[in-house]
């Protein structure tokens, strides 16, 4: 089999990259549904090391691959098509239980098998790209640009596909997209008929695969599966979107009764509800509501506090309305007009369309307006003040989560967010936020300290006179008034708490003997924290607390991350290591993911060097430069890209659009940047070192401009209409994305000129570094914020500038 020297299969590369990136996103979706999101993150991170394996493999079989380029290229396409669907079928049949991993050593073997299988499709795609770069070494920048632009198209494409089709159908479509790449290299194979037949055979196999083989088999321990086992349970709606899969279950025999924080003194519980599961877990409910019924139990929840102060509210804002429990509560207390804000339109549609008869939407819609946007975006654009702003408890209970959301960014409870909510209040209005409690308390203490900081930054001199804080056995409600709470209000709050056996945690004029009376904690954590924060001792208190409860800001919006390295030794020193429970699952999962990736990456990088140590002509100095350069730019690219995604999530409003837009803009414009390298270096004969210097300086400049202006930028952008915000986000990303597309092809071109035998190794190193970078960026973001992560990226680019793989110094 032969091929033309000057015609790299760019269309095939484009299709394969698009398919592989879409496949990666799809796997995160599939594993989030089957297992849990944090586990999905852990598995997919390692699977991407398939890119690293590819570098090593090609380095080992370099001459064979070059001799049989088209054959090997075509074979990898076929293998990608088969494996993308095949490994999913196999993995679903592995009896793996993620929850049992700490208990059962055999689960580790199953996890390892999961990693190995999942890395295969990425390995095959990476092989095609690395091979092409090796074969067409004068056109590396063009090939890389096809790879990036393809991936950019994949980022947008997968969102569209997941909006229209169910995940198993998308899985088949992505395999077809990969196989389509084979059509574009058919002519070069030399055995056109045989190759076409092979393609047709694999495609038919995927098409004819029984639907039941691809049906999602959710873990037996997910709430949806458990609920459907109960007599009378019936799945009445199931819909998959790009963000989540939503399942609705009805049970007329055994009603669902979801009432977070309901008082033990409540004479009744909820009567009839539909259960709504997101990704098979995180249950929320829709109450049956009619003109005749009144959800009396809602007066016995801690979140009812503002409604029982003797006021009828004219204008209420419910943020993160979900499936409508807080809307119903506001309506039950005769609020006149309710604006309900919820970013997930799948949830609002359930209440207002699919189950509108059940939810009593006909009765509610006269006074409720739904808005599909985020709390922050609404707060930035709302033009009329509210008498009450409510944020209710998130879905699912606190106990099971145990910190697994630690590495999910949450812009709704940062100091900046709280300030924007406070600014919405009319004089005398209230802001009320209810959260689940945990033991020892963490999130609620952070919310309180953030609220006090937000009040102080908003110019309030005595926040202690505006705050009321109560708690039930598993929820706590923090209420803030625009103005000072008067004696009628404090009396009403005391009466409300007393009658429902809720505990007071803070109230103007509170005394220590009023706290920790009904829901007994080992110590009065809430009151002690409140007193310390309000008396100016907050810093000392927070520093001495065993968890990180300091307020979070937009630059490090990890509200649920409470891990503190200082406390680790204390927890681990507890007898029998019983303190493991105190650490929480989130941070350790992330660290474990990083460690496993480091070990695997080092093996992949070092193994080829070991095996080929006699064949390598390049000297140690050059190998060091290749290693440093590609590690640095691999880490730096994702540091900046992920920081942009997090920050633009806030600007764009919808997390889904933010990821899709930022990812595709970064990839496509980096691809165009890479094309420019081809033009400058290959056509104009410019020295790669010069180009690198200019691109690094540009990255430095753009990053610094962004770092110093981001707070100002975000504040002004948030006030724009959605379409303009998205447009501005794109425009902001373009310059930096463009210049960030240059260092990689510059490095490869330089490596190819100085040590061509190291080219696949460089590709592998970059793949490994990218995987590590995704995990490191989150860990660093938690510690030093996104601005810190971006500064690290700049330092890494500067390091890359000094270590461009060449025999003479720049």
């Amino acid at each position: 089999m032969t091929t033309t020297r000057h015609a790299p299969p760019l269309v095939a590369i484009f299709l394969l990259s698009a398919s592989a990136l879409a496949y990666e996103v799809l796997l995160v979706r599939l594993f989030s549904i089957i297992h849990w999101h944090h586990f999905a993150f852990m598995v997919i991170s390692l699977a991407l090391l398939g890119y690293g394996v590819s570098g090593s493999l090609i380095m080992l079989f370099r001459s064979f691959c070059l001799r049989h380029f088209t054959g090997v290229f075509f074979l990898n396409i076929l293998l990608y098509g088969i494996s993308s669907v095949g490994v999913f079928v196999i993995i679903q049949r592995l009896p793996f239980n993620a929850l049992e991993i700490l208990w059962d050593s055999s689960q580790w073997l199953r996890l390892l098998l999961t990693y190995l299988f999942l890395s295969l499709p990425f390995l095959f795609v990476a092989n095609t790209i690395a091979l092409t770069m090796l074969r067409f070494d004068l056109q590396i920048a063009r090939i890389y640009s096809a790879d990036l632009i393809g991936a950019g198209a994949g980022a947008i494409g997968i969102m569209l596909l997941l909006t229209v089709f169910e995940p198993p159908t998308v899985l088949r479509l992505l395999a077809f997209a990969g196989l389509l790449a084979g059509v574009f290299v058919l002519r070069q194979t030399g055995r056109q008929l045989a190759a076409a037949l092979a393609l047709a055979l694999v495609a038919s196999g995927i098409l004819l695969l029984p639907g039941s083989w691809l049906e999602l088999r959710l873990s037996d321990y997910k709430g949806l599966v458990q609920t459907l086992r109960i007599d009378g349970a019936r799945l009445v709606e199931s819909h998959s979107g790009p963000v989540s899969r939503i399942d609705v279950v009805e049970n007329r025999l055994v009603p669902f009764r979801n009432a977070p924080g309901l008082s033990l003194q409540s004479p009744e519980g909820p009567s009839d509800q539909l259960a709504v599961f997101s990704d098979g877990d995180a249950m929320t409910t829709i109450d049956r509501h009619s003109a005749q019924s009144s959800p009396g139990y809602m007066a016995y929840m801690s979140s009812a506090l503002p409604f029982l102060l003797g006021r009828q509210f004219e204008r209420v804002l419910v943020l993160n309305a979900g499936t409508g429990a807080d809307i119903l509560q506001a309506a039950a207390f005769d609020s006149r007009h309710i604006d309900a804000v919820e970013p997930d339109s799948q949830l609002t549609r359930l209440v207002s369309e699919t189950f509108s008869g059940y939810s009593g939407w006909q009765q509610l819609r006269g006074r409720v307006e739904l808005h599909n946007t985020t709390a922050r975006a609404w707060a930035a654009t709302a033009d009329q003040p509210y008498d009450l702003v409510v944020i209710g408890v998130p879905g699912a209970s606190s106990g099971g989560a145990a910190g697994v959301y630690a590495f999910s960014a949450n812009f709704d409870l940062t100091v900046e967010a709280l300030k924007s909510y406070l600014a919405l209040l009319a004089p005398g209005g209230y802001l009320s936020i209810t959260l689940w409690t945990d033991t020892p308390p963490k999130g609620n203490l952070r919310l309180f300290s953030a609220m006090v900081e937000a009040l102080r930054e908003s110019g309030v001199a005595s926040p202690e006179n505006r705050l009321a804080w109560i708690r039930s056995w598993n929820t706590a409600t923090l209420m803030v008034k625009h103005g000072e709470l008067n004696s009628e209000e404090t009396t009403a709050i005391r009466r409300f708490s007393e009658s429902r056996n809720f505990d007071l945690a803070w109230l103007p004029g509170i005394s220590e003997d009023e706290v920790n009376r009904y829901q007994l904690l080992p110590r009065p954590f809430f009151y002690t924290a409140a007193k310390a924060v309000l008396s100016g001792q907050g810093k000392d208190y927070m520093e001495s607390y065993q968890y990180d409860i300091e307020p979070v800001r937009d630059v490090n919006p990890y509200f649920d991350d409470h891990f503190r390295w200082n406390s680790l030794s204390t927890f681990l020193a507890l007898p029998g290591r019983s303190g493991i429970a105190m650490i929480g699952a989130g941070y350790p999962t992330l660290v474990a993911t990083l460690l496993q990736a480091v070990v695997a990456a080092l093996l992949l990088i070092l193994a080829p060097l070991f095996f080929l140590r006699r064949k390598l002509r390049s000297d140690g100095h050059l190998r060091f430069r290749v290693f440093t350069y590609f590690t640095a730019i691999g880490l730096a690219f994702l540091f900046i890209e992920l920081s942009f995604i997090e920050m633009l999530t806030l600007v764009i409003g919808q997390p889904l659009y933010a990821v899709a837009v930022t990812l595709s803009v970064f990839l496509v414009f980096s691809g165009l940047g890479s094309l420019t390298v081809h033009w400058f270096v290959e056509s104009k004969g410019l020295d790669p070192g010069v180009l690198l210097r200019w691109s690094v300086l540009s990255i430095l400049l753009v990053t610094l401009v962004y770092l110093f202006s981001h707070a100002w930028l975000i504040e002004h952008l948030m006030a724009l209409p959605t379409a303009l915000r998205i447009l501005m986000a794109i425009l902001l990303s373009i310059p930096i994305a463009f210049v960030m597309g240059m260092p990689f092809p510059v490095g490869l071109t330089s490596t190819s000129r100085n040590a061509p035998e190291l080219l696949p190794w460089a590709w592998g190193i970059n793949g490994c570094a990218s995987v590590l970078s995704a995990i490191l960026a989150v860990l660093l973001g938690m510690e030093i914020g996104f601005t810190g992560v971006m500064l690290c990226a700049v330092m890494l680019y500067l390091l890359a500038w000094r270590t461009l793989p060449r025999k003479t110094l720049i």
Partner: protein, 249 residues
């Protein structure tokens, strides 16, 4: 095959069986050693968590009950070899049998006394009910999954537990015909403590509720109703043990 060869093979094959019986000690209960090991593991865990759970040991009666209930009868055949390890085990249909230490802790927190009547919400395999039945006069256990309720009823009958009544029903409304109860244990996931259960608790009674996923952290909440009917809750610090810490098998 020669008869002598066949004889030798038979001798060879039967040797391990004979040896096993000879070494087992208690011929009537081949699991007794393992059960003793489980008890030793629980006792060590109690000492290790003394600060967190405010007690240095469990009631002797509770430990005796744990030492007599044949846990291996409550797990599927495939899990029998692990039945007495101090860890939760999957028992099929997404259900688990709790870690023995947690079972002992919850039982101890209930402060069971002879003559008492206890309500359990969430029968599962029936193991917790079996332990309680050795300590109180009557256990009422409710299971929402009918199949599980039926299997547990048959299992407990087969094993001779006569003071356990099982009902396949929603536990939210409790068991009003048999109320009030001296204590209640809730092992089902709940967003709130059901008001009917609070009402069915005797003054001076207590309710224990574990919260959290079964293989991970368990937060234990204790609900107490004082003689005047005043209800309070108390939360214990979360507890978990993992096998690789050593000494818990």
């Amino acid at each position: 095959m020669k008869k002598s060869t066949l004889f030798l093979i038979l001798i060879f094959c039967s040797a391990p069986v004979a040896t096993g019986f000879a070494q087992g000690g208690d011929v009537s209960d081949p699991w007794s050693d393992e059960r003793a090991g489980m008890i030793a593991g629980i006792e060590k865990d109690v000492r290790d968590t003394a600060e967190l759970i405010n007690r240095g040991s469990f009631d002797r009666r509770v430990m005796d009950a744990m030492a007599t209930v044949p846990r291996h009868e409550f797990v599927p055949e495939s899990q029998r070899s692990k039945a007495y390890e101090n860890r939760p085990l999957p028992i099929g249909r997404g259900q688990t049998i709790s870690q023995p230490y947690i079972v002992a802790l919850m039982t101890d927190l209930l402060q069971p006394q002879p003559g008492q009547r206890v309500l359990e919400i969430g029968t599962g395999s029936g193991y917790q009910a079996a332990v309680l039945s050795r300590l109180v006069s009557q256990v009422y256990s409710m299971e929402i999954i009918a199949e599980l309720a039926s299997e547990s009823r048959q299992r407990l009958q087969r094993l001779g537990y006569e003071n356990i009544s099982i009902r396949a029903a929603d536990g939210y409304n409790g068991w009003p015909e048999e109320a009030p109860f001296d204590s209640i244990i809730v092992t089902a996931a709940i967003s709130h403590i059901p008001p009917p259960l609070v009402r069915q608790l005797k003054p001076g009674g207590r309710m224990v509720i574990p919260v959290g996923t079964r293989f991970q952290t368990q937060y234990l909440t204790i609900v107490e109703k004082d003689p005047d009917g005043r209800v309070t809750t108390r939360q214990l610090i979360p507890v978990i043990f993992v096998p690789f810490t050593g000494g818990h098998q």
